[in-house]
Subunit: 461 residues, 2 copies
């Protein structure tokens, strides 16, 4: 059963974690390690570490644990004899899928497809999901340009040498503070911290400002509208500039909520405007749901909050979905085989676990739960912000995706450390933001513990 | 127990596969699918399909199955209660590794580290292993250039906008017909087929010729030496040209055997020369072992055949290793945290299975087995080539990595199809090459069945 509350024996990282860290550092750079976990003893919303500590987990492996640790239904799926073959025989899924693959796709990925998107391509992590989604956008752009003709001999030959016209001069427009992954194509549209980008060659692609909204929203309606208009105009201008440069924008990429960049939100009308601009310019729109998908925002997909006039063209997912992949429109479907491909293109064993996860999400109404508990948590955070206006600002959230800003990184990090040592494990993002990413199974009692410890830490600060 | 021989009930793909293919095509482009497999019934070196066929598998999920299907020791590892937590709780491994992670790293990845390389970074597939290996090379290049100084403010700011000097104008030199993956950075050094590359923007990086050796090697010693010299000179020239262009080469990337590009080999002295050129130019050398690593060549790592004067700087792996990652020298270790990072950075559940795989490889002497059986298979192939000199040429191999050329793609594909319908499942690569990639547990009896059916097909052609 799930523990009733945190239980702390040592500071975190404790002596055992520190010893293991020293050993791990012998074989790799390990400076990011926070502690060594005990996944056997972790349960539900609580993560255990090797020093006997038990923390309420409000960060959940960078927002990637859907139901919590060792969920009985997930363990059941793991032990189900019908899934064994998927775990011990990883296929080259694009060549030799298993007999139950189609059925499993229907029961898992297609059962939660975003409204209007009836295609899905499996992948293995967020980065390859974004990268191959970008490739789909480049292909559809060139296909439109060719107007039904096949590629020329010159194109087929030049692309092998990384040269135009086969490797065309095309861009993806992305946003300041956006994060999409760490491989070259995903990193080219990522603009968060220098530590992510420095020393790596990157294509000269346009980067627009993402709206910086002021909170509380109802007090800054006019300013925020203006800000969003400014950013949309910038998008429009950049697209024209790159078109003129001979490097047209084939696709626009944005998160639905900028997560790593600081939990930055924009309104539904901003995303509607963005889609309009994409369509006017013959570009595709990718809405990256790697961190926001799978129910935490109170809708299964965060972009369902946007009332878009038509579905986004490409929607990459990973993290809580356990497998990577991207949904896409018919227009983004490759017309040749082997265009979107690699050895594994996913992992059916993750889909076997996802099947259990989705079953629980549906049966237990966990998307609604995210809305209800999210609202409860947001109210609690607003209360605390009111109590500590000199320390906290900009409380914001959508479902259980929630965040609050601190005056600076040092203060934020101190709060995180103090909370951790009292048994609440929270995350960071942006420059001075505290980020909350609980599981989908979070309940009021967990929120109460978190709010209580958070308030206590702020009081003692 | 493993079947005694192939058993064919229908042509491949059979009616059930065709029906499933139609259904799968409703949700994704699926033109590459060859058949739907029955992984429960597959065993050892035999793959079963949904139509009741049983084929000797000489392709093994694009060379990614180390021990064969449903290996008892792998199933045991899967069922071992101590591994359960790794399967149902995927960690953000760079932040919260489990308590047994260090021990597991030692027992798995570090126990088979290439001689002289004592660092390893886990990843999840071949592409991210190559991409992050490239990042390590870019970082080490810039670090050398800075001579111990930290990055400048201008560098830290400009990189966020994809601009120099923070996103420097640096290149990776790669080879014609090389294959390293499908994400933007890995694809930038891939030069196999237009279908892999067309429509995707790519950096202007130098591409050298890879030696085209003539077979049998002992009859073309002088020609082949000349050819390798020519290619090395081309590498040298390209590096000078790019240096002059203001886009110096930070790293050279090559497979140890060009696999997707047609099973193209070069001699130990070629790779020694390549390493010399890299060192002379202050560039790093990546030898991609995604397809050649893990014992199939008769050494655990194919580059151990090269007697290099010092270890390669970066060695990416995946496929038979079940997890991705790359080994690297101390010099390639990032000096800051979060430089080589993503949400999952690997998957401990794959390492739990790898532990069993490596145990069997060592206990059963499977690296030696690859050598012995590989020699046996190569002799058999040479015999067959002698019998059909108008159809076959260029038989070549290293361990059980083996290949033979056909006059054209149509003939090759016809042979593959005929063999498949007689129960031997082989692969293709290059333009007209037949590629063999059996498991590490292959025995003489399997080779005899393959050779027998191969000969029969050629006779009937
Ligand atoms: S790039 Fe996604 S798993 Fe390797």
């Amino acid at each position: 059963a799930e523990p009733q509350r945190p239980e702390m024996k040592t500071e975190v990282p404790g002596p055992k974690s520190l010893q293991l860290l020293k050993e791990l550092s012998a074989v790799q750079e390990s400076g990011a390690v926070q502690f060594f976990a005990d996944y056997e003893r972790s349960f539900g919303n609580y993560i255990a570490d090797v020093d006997g500590n038990l923390m309420l987990d409000m960060y959940t492996q960078i927002a990637s644990v859907p139901l919590g640790y060792n969920h009985p239904r997930v363990i059941q799926a793991f032990k189900d004899p019908k899934n064994q073959a998927a775990f011990v025989n990883r296929p080259a899924l694009g060549l030799f899928p298993s007999g139950d693959h189609v059925q499993r796709m229907r029961q898992t990925l297609m059962s939660v497809a975003p409204p209007g998107l009836s295609n899905v391509q499996t992948m293995a992590c967020g980065a390859c999901s974004v990268e191959h989604g970008q490739k789909a956008m480049f292909m559809s752009y060139q296909r439109r340009k060719r107007g039904g003709e096949g590629p020329s001999k010159e194109e087929m030959e030049s692309c092998l040498k990384n040269q135009a016209p086969g490797a065309p001069n095309l861009a993806i427009l992305s946003f300041k503070d956006g994060f999409h992954g760490r491989t070259m194509g995903a990193l080219a549209v990522t603009h968060t911290k220098w530590i992510h980008k420095l020393d790596f060659p990157a294509p000269d692609w346009p980067v627009a400002d993402f709206p910086k909204l002021r909170y509380p929203l109802d007090q800054f309606t006019r300013e925020n509208e203006q800000e969003e208009r400014r950013c949309l105009n910038m998008v429009r201008d950049l697209m024209a500039t790159w078109e003129k440069k001979g490097c047209p924008v084939a696709g626009i990429v944005s998160e639905t909520v900028q997560c790593e960049g600081g939990d930055n939100y924009a309104s539904a009308s901003f995303f509607q405007g963005l889609q309009d601009i994409a369509k006017e310019n013959g570009a595709s729109l990718m809405l990256d749901e790697v961190q926001t998908g799978c129910g935490a925002t109170g809708k299964f997909w965060a972009h369902e909050h946007f009332n878009l006039r038509s579905p986004p063209d490409v929607v990459p997912f990973a993290k809580k979905m356990l497998t990577g992949g991207f949904y896409h429109s018919d227009e983004q479907r490759p017309t040749e085989s082997f265009r979107i491909f690699n050895t594994w293109v996913g992992d059916p064993s993750k889909m076997a676990l996802l099947e259990a996860v989705l079953e629980v999400i549906k049966k237990d109404g966990l998307v609604d739960n995210s809305k209800v508990i999210g609202d409860y948590m947001l109210n609690g955070l607003l209360d605390i912000q009111n109590s500590f206006p000199a320390i906290l600002s900009g409380v914001r959230g959508l479902g259980t995706l929630a965040a609050v800003d601190c005056p600076d990184a040092a203060t934020r990090d101190k709060i995180i450390t103090l909370m951790k040592n009292k048994g609440v494990h929270a995350g960071t993002c942006g420059t001075a933001t505290l980020r909350l990413r609980p599981t989908l199974t979070i309940q009021r009692k967990h929120v109460d513990i978190f709010l209580d410890i958070f308030r206590g830490v702020l009081k003692d600060l």
